[in-house]
């Protein structure tokens, strides 16, 4: 998978990597059993400290999203349910609250906001479906 670092987001670099893996796993861009790039080439490519990449990977491992196979690399786990339900909810609530504050500030009414969420959800499902089909065709 490809990563994109921004020094303007205010989010720690390792957390940006963590969040991008989570997003890739959620959208199907990264599938169970697929490998993350090795630490050294990824650090070189992004020109970030090796320790930053290592920290991101160990965080992902702690969250139960990936597993490290010694000598082979880091792989996306098959059961993404490894995150406990309340932990998952907590992660999501922060993001939702941010979006709600933003919606309030942009004066998007409740109804429109709910419709928008529905629409985005469908778009994501569509993306997952396409990704799955590509996978089946490959197989």
């Amino acid at each position: 998978m490809l990563f994109q670092i921004s020094y303007k987001s205010g989010k720690p670099i390792y957390l940006q990597l963590v969040d991008q893996v989570k997003a890739a796993a959620a959208s199907g861009a990264l599938r169970a059993g697929e490998a993350l790039p090795s630490i050294r080439p990824l650090a070189e490519e992004l020109r970030v400290n090796r320790n930053t990449v290592a920290k991101a990977y160990s965080e992902l491992e702690n969250l139960g999203i990936v597993e490290t196979q010694p000598g082979r690399g880091c792989f996306l786990k098959s059961n993404n349910g490894a995150l406990r339900k309340d932990a998952r909810r907590k992660l999501l609530i922060t993001e939702i609250d941010q979006a709600l504050v933003q919606a309030h500030h942009l004066q998007v009414p409740r109804k429109e906001l709910l419709e928008l969420i529905q629409e985005r959800l469908e778009a994501l499902e569509e993306k997952r479906r396409v990704n799955k089909e590509t996978k089946n065709e490959e197989a």
């Binding site: 303007k8 205010g10 050294r40 080439p41 070189e44 992004l46 400290n49 090796r50 320790n51």
Partner: protein, 297 residues
Amino acid sequence: MNESTPAIQMENLCYSYGRAEAVNNFNLTVRPGRCYGLFGRNGAGKTTTMKCLLNLLRPKRGNVRVFGIDPAKQDVAAKKRLSYVPDQVAFYPWMTIRETFDYLASFRENWNQKTEKELLDRFRLDASQRTDALSKGQRTQVALIAAVCPETELLVLDEPTSGLDPIVRREFIETVIGAYQEGHPGSRTIFVSTHLISEFEGLIDEFTIMDAGRAVLTLESDHARERYQKIRARFSEPPPKLALEGALHVQTSGRELEIIANGAARSIEDHLRAQNPESLSTESLTLEEIFVATLKS
């Protein structure tokens, strides 16, 4: 030597050239395994600080320690632990690259020949070439290989990429990340002085901004980017004068407002939001922008 001994420690370091003070009560601590940036304008005192660290200059006052060792008293013991890429690279002009490496390796307890070969290939250098025939970029590459191969715990880089072309600069940084950090990332410490801050942005864990011989700001990079934010707001009419606490810099242009916040971005945003802006956006400053904002304010 325990884990907590800093790789570099400077306490109240002072140095002057005649009556001109170059470094004035300068303090800095670099923990092992970190990549530490020393930022400053030309003439801020970076190179003088580096030279005190390397025992090329004797501090007039204050202490310098490298892994707890005073380089002025135990020069060899301190030098064993570090390698150095200077801003002006010089080799014996009559030696080839091969002879230069053999010569330098003779002073070292360890020299990784595999890394040497890999990096010569990567930089497309011919080891049989005399060093006086090398370009500036190639000379820096040779110096970098010579600094990486001894696999020391501390790598000191003084303005390493200034004057080099973008490709060489990129390869230089990739090599520091890849080849140098490869062995024991946890115990490989990097101390780099530069004013090309954006190139090293991703590498640097912590930094000190130096001005007129003094440390003006020391922060962790992630924390710095969280703390320094640029807030932009646009209003339907030219905004009233707002008393914004924690604003480092405020600029108004017609109906638009740009604020550099230092740690108070949230409360400033709330303040602005109360004025019903047409748009409001916030982004972090990069380390280079923080550098400029700090030295201009």
